[in-house]
Symmetry: C2
Subunit: 722 residues, 2 copies
Amino acid sequence: MILPTEKSSFHAQHSAVGAHSSFTLGMHGAPGGLALEKGHPAAGAVYVGTIVDEAITVFPFFESKQNSEIARFDHQNQPETCHDALTVLGAEDFTRDYRFASDHFITEDIHFEVITPFGELPDPETSDDATNRQASCPVIFARLTVDNSRGNRPKTGLFALGDHGCPMPIHHPGTFTGFLFNNGEMGFATSTPVEPLQCFDLSKAKKPDGTQLVPRFGGSYGFLMEVPAGETREMLISLGTFRKGPATLGLEMQYWYNRYFSNLQEVLQYSLDHSEKYLEEAAKRDEELDSSDLSDPQKCLVAHASHSYYGSTQWFDYSGKPFWNVNEGEYRMHNTFDLTVDMLFYEMKYSPWTVKNVLESFVQHYSYYDSVRLPGSKTLYPGGISFTHDMGNHNNFPPQGYSSYEISGIDRKCFSYMTHEQLVNWICCTGVYVAQTNDKEFLTRHLKTAKDCYTSMLHRDHPDPAQRNGVMGCESSRCNGGGEITTYDSLDSSLGQARNNLYLAVKSWAAYLALHHLFSEAGESLLAQDAMESAHQCAKTVSNRWDDTLGFIPAVFEDNNQSAIIPAIEGLVFPFAMGLREAVDEDGPFSLFITTLKRHFNAVFKPGICLYPDNGWKLSSTADNSWMSKICLSQFVARAILNIDFGDKQIEHDSAHMDWQIFGATFNACSDQFSSGKAMASLYYPRVVTNILWLSESKMSEEKSAKSSTAVSGKVPAFAER
Amino acid sequence: MILPTEKSSFHAQHSAVGAHSSFTLGMHGAPGGLALEKGHPAAGAVYVGTIVDEAITVFPFFESKQNSEIARFDHQNQPETCHDALTVLGAEDFTRDYRFASDHFITEDIHFEVITPFGELPDPETSDDATNRQASCPVIFARLTVDNSRGNRPKTGLFALGDHGCPMPIHHPGTFTGFLFNNGEMGFATSTPVEPLQCFDLSKAKKPDGTQLVPRFGGSYGFLMEVPAGETREMLISLGTFRKGPATLGLEMQYWYNRYFSNLQEVLQYSLDHSEKYLEEAAKRDEELDSSDLSDPQKCLVAHASHSYYGSTQWFDYSGKPFWNVNEGEYRMHNTFDLTVDMLFYEMKYSPWTVKNVLESFVQHYSYYDSVRLPGSKTLYPGGISFTHDMGNHNNFPPQGYSSYEISGIDRKCFSYMTHEQLVNWICCTGVYVAQTNDKEFLTRHLKTAKDCYTSMLHRDHPDPAQRNGVMGCESSRCNGGGEITTYDSLDSSLGQARNNLYLAVKSWAAYLALHHLFSEAGESLLAQDAMESAHQCAKTVSNRWDDTLGFIPAVFEDNNQSAIIPAIEGLVFPFAMGLREAVDEDGPFSLFITTLKRHFNAVFKPGICLYPDNGWKLSSTADNSWMSKICLSQFVARAILNIDFGDKQIEHDSAHMDWQIFGATFNACSDQFSSGKAMASLYYPRVVTNILWLSESKMSEEKSAKSSTAVSGKVPAFAER
């Protein structure tokens, strides 16, 4: 969508799929550019614009080297050439059109696009080499179009990077002109006929004669494209990264693209030779979002989330098998499970094989069995299987069964274990994956794990079956006397404590339903029945926690907690996504539970409780700490599942959240964790793609109006169809 | 040598041979640590010290995170543990002993050493695998000894790095405990029994119990060693770097060590298993310098230069053959030829095969043939062979026959061609290499090149043989109308202009003598005779340039130049190093030339001309720009060849130069280019190892007193014996 001028300055990640790289730009006067395996924007400069005679005009995609003046570089001690200083465009001089798979910066005579093709990612194990090669090629594109159709003097189109390190220039005119840097791990190239440029100072971007203007250690380099008067010309640039060979420790892996390319020059050449397919795919995505009936702020948030998601992705080759990893934004933790479960809906739409892949990695490498204890007691009881919080960080994979995050001996504070939550996450992801794909082979192979999961759920409720109520009541022995937390780790106990937590209880209900479905599909009808029984037990416990005095369900079922939390409703998304629409029907088998949660939501979703003054959503009444991904998810649940209509207020919520990203996280692209609209953690983050769910809402409303609202059960729901 | 307290704070590079890495530390309160392929110090922290009860005492090898207070880290928002703040030792609390291959920091109970073994580097093509493996293993060592012999409470020895990126911890107690980071490209390990430590904040360096204290993304990590009361214990740490596979572009090469090791863990394990040999070698070097009769400032300068030299070295494998590269310090240009020729003496002492290797790389990849023109004319005449200024930069190798530095169209300013100087450099290096090694095979193979060099020298003098005077008079066609420069590129014309330059003329004389020697050895007596004739012509021209009015020889033989320069005498070093002692004898065949140069030196070496007020040497009377490497070289020539005795003043010169390094280049380790004692360019530089020549002076003086001063001709001179 076209951004209003005052909202046009913010960083977006432009990232190839699975390469953990990003060409980040968009914030005015800020550093950015191309980076590989980095949890924040590059510290470089991007120079894009035109040269007419000796006047150089560029977009503001760099930081002034003298902090004071962005528009003028120092000419002192710079001999010979005599160009005027750079003219840097201001926000009012150009228009930004931010789309699903592209980002456009437009003046009267310049159109600069950054294009990030993505779409259905083929399953590498069932695709041929050509498909794999194309899908894994670690590139994105930029296109600079200079319109000189009404001009009477030649113009020169300029694209260059600065402060990206000393490059290796390669110049085969009209075939491949490019610069590789960082030991050939990053680079860009074009097959458009251009003149390569390398200089110390962009203010001398034009070459005085046919000779090399500056030594090969000039830190600004790129392309000059002549555009004669009366013509319009464009150059297409491929920007890529390449890590050759082993890229990780602990589990030794290389990037999947190593199977198809032996170096970056090959990557860039291939992408230029096959650009048409990539550009088509990007255009298809742009159209997909454009044509949806989402509001502009919603479109912006969906596009923004997707842009940052890919920057965190890593598609590895582990002993000949694909290994999918999504890094945790700035933290670069691997496949953090409480992110996986939120990004599930995005991956089910574009790459269901990555969901399966990550679930299997957890089973194979990052599951463990523990004991449990009741709070206040040291007696250990049988526990069961669970999964680690993550699979390491910064390309380092920890030993079997250990995360990089969780440590022992902490009582319900940051860095404690998330044993129960990750168990629930594996079950919910598996439920959705199996329901939507009907992958019987997967289900059969992991039935033992599913059974273990059920046992583990029960054991974590209470050692005595008679005292179970469907809600987590025990702590893992891994805590070494401390207590577990949830993904809302830096929040107060309203969302941070796992035990007896409303948010986690509803997710546990979803997990029991998922187990019911899995056991049913596998023909384990007795277990299925038990799991359904557990779900009912859990639903009943939650419903019974309604507090008439408070007028809502308190966040934690102990210690007289009185916090009001929105994510009470979060767990409803899983049965819904599994097609178990009866389960979430207000008139269905969980009628009291569902209606109570709806009452809860309506009660807490009020200014001063769970709504910020700017109309942004506040997840907990007692903490100024709101996660954008979770807001997006709860919005979907409220609208699509609980049929709550926000009416005219909807656009105000969306606008507030768009402003959080643009003004509260300007430098850090899509970010997740906000305090009063300011991003304060979880920056440069992949998780916000939960909002892909919104795209399914328009389809659903069509569906609803087309036919009666009969619940569909056990089948892939319409919104997940691809 | 033991450094006085006020001179103890400066960075030293501690580098493995050929790995282009450095563990840089020594400057108080400054960032440092381990870096790979970097032209400046790492931005990390190094924590070394002891913990007693909860008091942590460390050396000041890190920068305070709050710029204001180095001694105290913020405890806010840091839960649980309760250590006192760090106590950071001040300069007065410890003693630094800076040696050839080690660097010691000593308190009453802590002795911390950084040990960088080096010595005779075996020729890889004639050495067995075991020798190669040991020589190329990319490690250095650190040793922490904690003396608790008089203590009555246990102490804990601490070694940790901070701000080096998220690590992969590996812990096999007593065998291998280590941390790998930067994707396994850097790391350190010990086989001493220690507890691994990882934390966010060093103020909580002690683990409260047996569990992992912090998540695996804690940014400070290392080792804790328990030292019971009454005991003294030490831990030996190996610090290494490892780049797997292709490391360069243009010429595709990998580090030589890839032949013997497949990853960093192997490297570290091997070095710990074989530490004894390495430590012996380092001790031998320490003894070598300690036992010399150099003054303390001289020893400091020799050690400091050697430390920085190795940080710039890269030992590559180019298609199965060794390829030696010395990076140009902060600029990271490859085998910059005007550095090679100055580092020649160091490499002839420790690794003559690298001299041969680089000379051959120049012939094979970085030689070219040009035309020449007379100043002021566009007519081209035959030129001849020469060599590029460098072989690229930042691991990028330019196309055949081109450097990364030289560009066309510049007239006697920075970045112009150095065609004549690099021709002279190839000849002088080859002369010294052949004379000292008697490598007939090399001479025979490159005789054609040597002949081409002679032709090229003549052509660059004057197109008309009758008008030749032995001095460069023509400009290379590569300059495209401009004029050539010398290695003193950023100086005024006194040393910057190549044509008719006194400094280069004397070096040309040396080149003619070297050609004479080479041709003689090859049995080409006619050519030898011609070359000797050229030398005499050159010597005569230079002698005739004595200016009675000025009282010295002006730096440039044109434009009424009146600059006085010390490097007039520099070229005398080559025949001397070749053993051609008659040639530099005041009573020898070049008597007038030698005595005139000596008169010149004595005339200009005066305060206000070529001497700074602090007794530092000023290379040119007309520019405040002095290169330390060249000062060291000219000092040697003055003392050892021209027999000038600086008497009591010698120590004042040396002290001044030591102060330049310590106070003028504190952060940048050994640096080369100084303005009034402040390093302003050529930082973190390898070239200052010219001062290895000083080590030979004591031997020579023994020699002189032992026998009469009969000139030795055509043989390896004593000072180059190893």
